[in-house]
Symmetry: D2
Subunit: 337 residues, 4 copies
């Protein structure tokens, strides 16, 4: 931590602060210039709250200098983490595509979607049984019935599955039916839920909150890692900005930033990232080009009839085109799909 003193700070102000720093078990190094004094606080700053230091007399500002995460950090774990999910590796040279409908609506709809995405080259099946919806009057998902259908589809098509869990109470149940637990954007800082999935040994797909910083996303992963579950995939899914031409602003920049800061695989969700089916394919290409380790894409047999997210879902034939184009971009980077 660095503490910048005000121009007019007195020797007494500085003395009191240094005494406080030392009482906490840290060392204080002073740099005194013509205009002001800067105090470097030496020691592991992760437990300190800069804002408390800013309250001392004579202090202008106190700033953290280290990133607050550790287990998720590339400094701590320099090599890429590769997560194995029933034979599918995420985080290596191959770029798996996760696809399927937003919601599980019926056996027929789910199976038709599963068949189509598998035929087009998807390696995992996504579909929601518990749906977080803005309105209490919207379809809330089939719940347990949905999980059962998902397991059937998984076995029928040989695709490991990804599904969202929205309450700590449901974690054990969902973990029995699905291969990957998804934490949705609205729950990225639902710490009770993060702790619950951290205590399973299931892979987790952790979506960035729609107005969460990259650092907060990594800190949310840190919760899961600190509870003993090392198999976390980070997912960029669009952030909220002032722009309304797209539902969200897919933050492609987050992909290389996350790859630099952490060792965890980074998945891109161009469906939620844009909110419009006709933007999904170009944004999927751009995500791969930026270094994404996987894609998660919404596909529905008939989007006009979808119970949720129809506007951003691809028809199966459009999804097949997406896979073909994404594959060419992957090859240009010497990766595979």
């Amino acid at each position: 931590m660095v503490i910048v003193m005000k121009h007019q700070a007195s020797a007494e102000d500085i003395g009191k602060l240094v005494a406080h720093i030392e009482a906490l078990g840290f060392k204080a190094h002073l740099s005194s210039g013509a205009e002001r004094t800067i105090i470097g606080v030496i020691g592991d700053e992760r437990g300190l709250e800069p804002e408390n230091f800013a309250l001392f007399d004579g202090v202008e500002r106190a700033m953290r200098v280290l990133h607050p995460f550790k287990l998720a950090s590339r400094d701590y774990h320099p090599d890429d983490t590769i997560i194995h999910i029933n034979g599918v590796a995420v985080g290596g040279k191959n770029i798996p595509i996760i696809a399927g409908p937003c919601s599980i609506e019926s056996r027929e709809q789910l199976f038709e979607a599963a068949r189509a995405v598998q035929a087009a080259g998807a390696k995992l099946l996504r579909a929601g049984a518990y749906k977080p919806r803005t309105s209490p009057y919207s379809f809330q998902g089939l719940g347990l019935k949905g999980l059962e259908l998902l397991k059937e589809a998984r076995d029928a098509y040989g695709l490991p599955t990804v599904t969202e869990v929205i309450s700590p109470n449901d974690v054990t149940l969902v973990a029995q039916y699905a291969d990957v637990l998804q934490i949705g954007a609205r729950n990225m800082q639902n710490f009770a839920l993060l702790n619950a999935v951290g205590e399973t040994q299931k892979p987790v797909l952790l979506k960035r909150g729609m107005m969460s910083t990259i650092e907060e996303l990594i800190m949310a992963a840190e919760y899961i890692l600190a509870h003993g579950n090392a198999r976390v995939m980070l997912c960029e899914r669009g952030i909220r900005t002032y722009e309304t031409a797209t539902r969200n602003t897919f933050d492609v920049n987050a992909i290389p930033v996350l790859k630099q800061l952490t060792h965890l695989p980074v998945i891109a969700d161009p469906s939620h990232g844009t909110g419009h089916w006709n933007l999904v394919t170009p944004i999927a290409r751009s995500a791969i080009a930026a270094g994404a380790d996987g894609l998660i894409v919404e596909v529905h047999p008939d989007p006009t009839q979808a119970f949720s997210d129809g506007g951003q879902s691809l028809k199966p034939e459009k999804f097949a085109q997406l896979v073909a184009q994404a594959r060419k971009i992957a090859q240009a980077l010497e990766r595979t799909i």
Copy 2:
């Protein structure tokens, strides 16, 4: 809902869409102009998804025309809702102030804070036992021990209490110890938690998510109301913008907007709203002037020692000044504090 057709939409496109609208039990009214046709969908649109209609051939856009909320709406319930909490009324002419420390740290700290805020004129005591923290390495709250201390302080000073609940599993327990259940900003769209507090008959203080629109805040309240709990207070606590001079941007505009759209009381949180103790008092004044029905303010006996939110906590004497100033603004509007 209104559907705008493309310039080049064919009669067949329009015919198919009208047939689809009628098959769903709605009526379609066509306005055909020189440049394009507009279709009004007549009926209760709340169950419709505009994005699905936008997928039909020839459609340019489909837009909702009604607000999606009902129970929380002032149209539905024109008079202000007044919530009674052990003798304190919220939503009427009097403007109660809720105050206390961010976290319960010890009996001594909590009692000192309670005594001070009561002396200064606060009507309810706030303090957290379960703390949602960005870092897993930060203080997470005293939990049950904290709830017990809170109940003691409540009885000692005769102040009803407000405390946060962060997991559906804890709702029943927290409801036994506290008078008002607080839903924090990060959990505003934690629907499992909204449903759980909706099933109690405890008053709820619902904080706006830092990434949430005013409409989404009202829809979150709608979840609680739809589960049978009518005692919801809405709380503006600052939103996330590009500006970094303040921790959050307290959205004072939300106060009159909420008062126009809903009948629920609106509380302002200038502590989280700004993140800096020296902005709390002017923003508290501005919130009252804009029409807020209450304030919630962080007060700590010694902010430099606070386990959380020290930078935005007021010392007791500063809080007393805030109350005095807020009272003058209230009087200028013919209200009381």
Copy 3:
């Protein structure tokens, strides 16, 4: 400036950087801890670019520690600046209200507005002759003809005038007709224009850009001050955020922040700040309560016929109510209107 070295930075890295700092005429103070070294750069950092230092081997981050402004700073000029405009003082205990139509449309419209705002208590008249419009097909203002009408209205009602200038070429002309030169939000960083108004001795009303930080606003004022014109009023007029319930998000927080950082008067524009006439009065009250030194409000004799900004313009009788309410808030703070 503070430079944080990487954990793995070598002694050679540090040595090179220190040599570079010294070659630039600064001193380098090292704080070496267990985890990393921090270098304090001692000297007037305003001319340094932190990003260039971040490029040296072994550097993690370089951060500025001082605010980049000087003439506008309260450190440099502790007392409030009071600006006198033909007998109206801005920045003192009295809070003048500037009001009038968005655009000058006709003599009749302008005179009717001027008469009404004067009767209600406004001290200055605002009206635009040069209009920056998003669309080239929208009304662009009456230009010179508008300036002439504005001068007539000024003389007829004894109200000093505020009008926008949008090109450096027009500054001399506009300065002949108006008492205050307004720089609009879209031109806040039009540096050619800032320099041009800086070279006049006319008071300037400088509006914050809709996505400019508070620091950038002060730096724009610094351009004007550095060109020799000390009579600058800063104006908060709403920023752009994700929220769409209001046209802009009036950032009430900017008022106390600006009052702390600078000595310049701060004016609030609740009309652009919210974009809806029925929010203008509560937000005007909140701005005064937060410490604003003046208001600028759009008033039109018949908003349904306005050539621009009809939706946010008050009718004369609503404006009179605004003045009455704002006055009560001012009195609660021991100020006058």
Copy 4:
């Protein structure tokens, strides 16, 4: 335009509004449902202001249904516009790269940069003589001397040039020295400047404002087109969001949205888009993958010595790697670099 009436609107309210619409020369079509009436306004709505209609009694909302642009619209001009700049075509199958230093600092620096970017495959040279800087104390550019150096470098290396113009007064001069006039982000809505470049026949590179919507960018282009200059290139250069890990958030989504809405070429600026040299190459790749028609990249012989933007400038050898990688992505899409 569509006008949604309130539930409680009276027949008289509707009658008055219809009369007003017809008096303006438009037709009104009514759709009356159980809950409310919707009025479609039939005619060319571009000259109407929805907000004025929203002021009539009984009106809930008035919404535009058409995009407000025309000349820039793909509806109006379905084929891609290709702009020829001294033998370099922009907007076709080939993707030219524009590169060079942020500022012209000296003949040596400029020539070294020009030689390096040409050798690496750049087709145009960028460099600034007039610099819009946040601080009046920062380097403001070499002005005319810079333009002369730029022309020398152009002739020496056979690279057409792109340089920024910041005042309408300078347009004629800059047009004599450079091949493309750049409008910077801060001037995107400097309408006096847009009009001035619209009256030349020079190609224009128009950068998106950091606070501007995609629609506003297209409307700014519309100003230039409406003044008779059809050679406009649009440039995405990052927008301002709450995220601070990058200087700006490069909005990759804008690329396919702009390609759908307009016929103008779209250029990507990954240097300003991210603000960090080590993100420039992955974001350059992602922009090409999303469909960009060109890149503009900052390159400096020694970024640690740059007068501006050192942190986001590439060294020549890094730029050569960028070109090689971008070329592979272009080939994957059957385009060339």
